[in-house]
Symmetry: C2
Subunit: 194 residues, 2 copies
Amino acid sequence: MKVAVLLFNNFETLDVFGPVEILGRLPETFEIEYYSLAGGSIRSTQGVSISTLRLAEITLPVDVFLIPGGKGTRQEINNPELVGWIRKIAQSSRYVLTVCTGSALLAKIKELDGKTTTSNKRAFDWVVSVREAVHWRRKARWTVDGTYYTSSGISAGMDITLAFVGDTLGKETAERVATEMEYLWNRDPERDPF
Amino acid sequence: MKVAVLLFNNFETLDVFGPVEILGRLPETFEIEYYSLAGGSIRSTQGVSISTLRLAEITLPVDVFLIPGGKGTRQEINNPELVGWIRKIAQSSRYVLTVCTGSALLAKIKELDGKTTTSNKRAFDWVVSVREAVHWRRKARWTVDGTYYTSSGISAGMDITLAFVGDTLGKETAERVATEMEYLWNRDPERDPF
């Protein structure tokens, strides 16, 4: 499966590299590429710089579209060119995974209208204000509605990615990866202490 | 505090970016730099490429020396030039943090002889074979012995980094960061199900 990770400046480090640690452990299944509007080096809020391809170079459809969150979403949500790309990619990809405030970017294009969805808890009111037609669930570690996987803040991205691996490759594979990572996986989407 | 992260090809992605997510949330305290033997682009086993400075450019001492693990440690342990740099940096830095098999690299320079230490559980026998004079604890999420912080595999790097933040900046700061990350922090170094 071809995985396209959307990057923008001030993305949240772990929103990306938590899921990448998991999908990157299954290279026989997942091929990961990083894209940004202008291409080149993109920097996380925590100062990690990653090299990206230009969105204009992407070959659609992709199988998995991963949208991280972070401070940068507040700016990018008002960037019509980026939002246009999100629409184009999300509408053609098999699965969309969002972490943290990445769900706000997906909500912006109306793709989540009426769908059960969650997001970062500390930014929740802002996220809801982006698009009230979405069925936002405040209390959920993650949600799955059809092919849309949305998770709570930052570290929840690892829990939802393992759940996604379980759904697509089987629970045994997800359990094996979690054990290899010595990760105390929160397997219960309803268990959300935040 | 100046944080030097040691990188080498085939480092484990989350070993680095879990701790970086945490320390990077405290930019008023921690300044993070990435170093490798040759400098330039270094690639994790999961395909993440990071730009690094040459170790020869490092200004010593640093405050925190972070040594990740990963498949690359098997090769680097036999690289005398890299091991020499690890000795020089570890012996002059205030704190050394290792994640996963990073503790094998630190054990190699005899810095851990007689010290209570842990490592990745699936690679444990190999790690012990590197240096038997270390007091290796098989059952521990992480250990602290003086200024040496060593953690179990991969995701345990986040638990130990939060513990380190608690020790140096206070428990409230560590709790705040864990909550911001919506991270189900394993606060108990004795709780190790792996």
